[in-house]
Symmetry: C3
Subunit: 344 residues, 3 copies
Amino acid sequence: MNKSYKSFTALAVLAATAGVAQAQSAVTVYGNIDLGVFKKTGSTLSEGRRDNNRLGFKGVEDLGDGLKALFQLEIRYDPDVGTIEGASRPLFQGQSRVGLQGSFGTVRIGRGLTALQDSNVAFEPFRGTPSTAGFITDLMVAGYTSQPLDPAGSSANRFSNAVFYNSPEIAGLQLNVTVATREANGNPALIGRGTQAAPQYAANAALNSNPYSVSATYRAGIFAAMLAAERNAAETKLWSVAGSVQARPDLKLVASYQSQDQEHTVAVNPVTKAWVVGANLDIGPGTLLAGYGRKTPDGAVPTKQIGLGYEYGLSKRTFLYVDASNRKAVTSVNFYGVGIHHNF
Amino acid sequence: MNKSYKSFTALAVLAATAGVAQAQSAVTVYGNIDLGVFKKTGSTLSEGRRDNNRLGFKGVEDLGDGLKALFQLEIRYDPDVGTIEGASRPLFQGQSRVGLQGSFGTVRIGRGLTALQDSNVAFEPFRGTPSTAGFITDLMVAGYTSQPLDPAGSSANRFSNAVFYNSPEIAGLQLNVTVATREANGNPALIGRGTQAAPQYAANAALNSNPYSVSATYRAGIFAAMLAAERNAAETKLWSVAGSVQARPDLKLVASYQSQDQEHTVAVNPVTKAWVVGANLDIGPGTLLAGYGRKTPDGAVPTKQIGLGYEYGLSKRTFLYVDASNRKAVTSVNFYGVGIHHNF
Amino acid sequence: MNKSYKSFTALAVLAATAGVAQAQSAVTVYGNIDLGVFKKTGSTLSEGRRDNNRLGFKGVEDLGDGLKALFQLEIRYDPDVGTIEGASRPLFQGQSRVGLQGSFGTVRIGRGLTALQDSNVAFEPFRGTPSTAGFITDLMVAGYTSQPLDPAGSSANRFSNAVFYNSPEIAGLQLNVTVATREANGNPALIGRGTQAAPQYAANAALNSNPYSVSATYRAGIFAAMLAAERNAAETKLWSVAGSVQARPDLKLVASYQSQDQEHTVAVNPVTKAWVVGANLDIGPGTLLAGYGRKTPDGAVPTKQIGLGYEYGLSKRTFLYVDASNRKAVTSVNFYGVGIHHNF
C-alpha cells in the first residue's frame, strides 16, 4: 500500500525523477520479432509472421515469506505492416494480468490464455506457433475459439475479465483453472440458433453462464500428459487429451486428440473432432518439426494436414526457418515459407 | 541540439547499437496495474479497475546550472480486457509532455492534467482514484469535464495542446497555471444552446477563447489548502476550495467545496455545487479510507454518497483492497469491490 | 533457435521472472519528443511538432563471426494530443524490422523508410524534419508518396511488406535497395485513370508490380552525393540527385534535384520537378538552418519556399528552436514557430 499520499504538483514533477533505478529494475522489456516470406497455392507471395510477435513489459516483486507479486503486459503486433495484431485487437492482446504467487500456486486476474490453450502448446509439433504449416490454430483446437463473444477480430485463445489459477506442481501433477465473469465484452451479434432479427446472442450480450477452462498436466521422467476441458461464452464445449515422450535426448514425440461440441449455437454437424501427431528432431544446429493431423466434421469433408519445418539456430535467441505443408479439405493447398525469428 | 547530421543508411543502422547504456539509463519504464472484482446494485459481477492503470516512459536530463529537461509519456489501459483505456482514447491518455525545470519552476508543453485537476487529488478521501466508492469523478468535480471539445470518449481531466507552469514552492505556497490553444481537436458536435441543425459547437470546432486552469496550494505544518479555478473549451467555469489536516501521524482529514457554472452551454439548472469530507486512518498494515459527499443541481434531486475502503499493504508497491459505497440520487446504488493494486 | 520447448503453465509463469537482467540489457528504449507553438497565415495559433516524435525499442545481438541480429520497433506519436501519429497510423509507424548484419551488409525485413527516403535526409537543409519551414515533405520529394496503396492516412515515406538491403560502404560508396511484395495492404480505392465506378486500383488492391527503391551514396572527404530512384505501388516514378559539401567545419551546403512521373495514374501534368538548396551554419551554441526551393508542375503555378531555423543547444540531447518560412504557390503563406526538442 502506498501511504505516501499524492502531494502537490511540483513535488509530483520531481517525483518523476526519483527512484529511477528502482523502478527500472522492476520492469523487464521483452519480446520477439518473427518475419518471413510465404507462398500459398492460389495466393501471391506475401510477407508475414510464422510466430506471434510480442513486445512485453513484466516484473516480479518479492513480498517476503515466499510470496511474490507479478504482472505482465504483452503487446502483439504485425511487423510486416507495423500495426498491432490484426489492426483491431486490444493493445495488450497477448495478456494483461497481475497476481500473487506462493506455496499455494499462482493466482492472477485480467486477460490471458485460458488453462487449456496455455497447456496444449507443449503437445503440438510446431510448439503452438500459428504457422500455416503448424496445427494449433485450426487442427489442434478443431477451429474452436475461446472468445466467441468478444469484439470482432479477437483472437481465439483467451478470456478477458477472468481469474487464472495454477496449482504448484506436486509429484509431477499440476492443475490449472480459468474462470471469467458473465459481463458483456463488446461482441457483435451472434446469430447462432436465432435469426438475423433475433440473434441468439445480441450485440454486447451478457452471458448466460461463466466461461471456464481447466487443465491437468502430468510429468514423469520422459513422459508428459494433459487432460483439459473448456466451455466458452457461447457455451461451446471443447475437451482435449494429449501426451508426449522424449524418446531420445534429440527426439520428442507428441500426440493429441480433441473434441468440440457447438450444439448450443449450431444446429447441423455441431461436433468436430481432431487428432494430431508429430515429432521434434534435433539435426545439426537446428531442429526438424514434423506433424500430421486430421479434423472430422460429421458428414462432411475431413481436413488432412501434413506439416514440416526446420529451425536453423544462429544463437539461443535467433533462428532462421523453412516451413512446408499440404492441407487438404475440399481443395488442396500447398504452403512454403522462409524467415527469421529473433527473441529479445 | 544534435549537430551530428543524419548520415548514410548503414551508419544509421549501426547507430542503432551505439549508446545503448546511455539511452537506457535515460528512460524509466514505470506504471501500475490495478484489477478487482466488483458488484453494483442492478449489474452483474464484473472485473475492472479501481485505480487508473498506467504504463509510462519518463526521463530527466541534467542540463547544468540547476536546469533540467524532463519528459513523460503515459499509456493508460484497461487490463481486464487488455485495451487502451476506454478502447478509443489517445495512446498516451495519461500525459505526453516535455519541458524544463529550474529555479523559475517547471514549464511543460503537451497534454496532461490541468492545474486544478492535478492539485485536488490531495484533498479527496480516495486520493483521486476513480473507484466507484471514491469521490473524484462525479462528486468532487461536480461532474465537470476539462475536455468537452475533445474527441468522443475522452476522459475528463486533461487539456491537450497546452502549456503547463508550476512555480517553485515558496514559504509553502505554489502557483500552477495551464493554458491551452484555441485550435480544434476533433470533437463531435456539441448542441449546447444551439439546435441539432445548428449546434453551439460544430464538429471539430475551433474555440472562442483559450481554456485555462489555475491553482494555488499552500502548506504550513500539518495544514494544507488549495484554491483553484478552471474554464474549459465550452466555457464552463469550475472553482474549488479544499483543505486537509494531518490531525495525527496516522490520521488525515480532508474537505473540499466546488461550484460549476455551465451557463454558456446549458439553459436550465446550469449551476452544480458539491462538497466532500473524508478521512484516511492507518489501521494495522493498511489504511482505512472514508468519505461522504453531496452534489446539488438547482431544483433537482441531490446526489449523496458515502464511501469506505481499506488498503491492506503487502509491500510499499503492492496492496489488496476492499471498497464499499452507497450512492443515492433518484435511485440508491450499493457497490462492493475487492482487488489488488501493484506499482512497478 | 529456442530448443527449450514450451513447458507447463506454472513454469511459464516462473519463467516470467528469469533472465530479467539478460532480457533487459537486450532492449534499448529510446526516442524523442518535440513540441512547439506555431502560427501560419490564415490559421489559429497551434501546438504541434516540428520533428517526428518517436518512442522506440531496439536491440542488437552478437551472433559471432562478425554477424549480428538486429531489430527495431518505433512508435510515432503526436504529443500535443497524446495520440499515435495521425491518430490512425500503424502503432509502429516509424519502423518494425528484423534482420542480419555482417560483412555482406545489412538485410532487414518488415516495414521502414525506403532506400531513397532514408538517404535523402542528409541533403535537406532541415535534415529531413517535417517542419513547415523545412523542405522534405513537399518540395524535396515533389509531393511524392511511397505509400499510395496503403491504408488512408498512411505517411509518405515507407514500404510495408518489404525487404531492405544496405551494402557495406566501400571506398565511400554504398548501395541501398528496398523491394516490397505485391500483396494488398488495405488501401481505399484509387481512381487514377479509371472512374468512380471502375477505379484504377480497387480498395485493397493487389499490385501489378513490385514497388522498389534504390539509392547510391558516395562520400569523399568534404563531399557527399546521392543518386536515387523509386517506383511505388501505383507505379509513380521518382528519381533524385543530391550533393553536399562541408565547406568549413561550421558550414555545410546541400543541394538536390528530383523529378516525379505520375503518368501511370494521372492524365494531366503528370510530371513534377523540384530543387532545393540550403546551408547549415554553426553560430554560437547553435546552428542556423537555411534553405530555398522550387517545385514546378507542368503548365501550372510553381511553388517557391524559403525557410529559416535556428537550433539553440541546451545539451547534446536537448535544444530550443525558432523557425520562419514563406511559401508561395497560388497564395503566400508565412509561418513562424518556436519550441523544444528532447532526445531520450
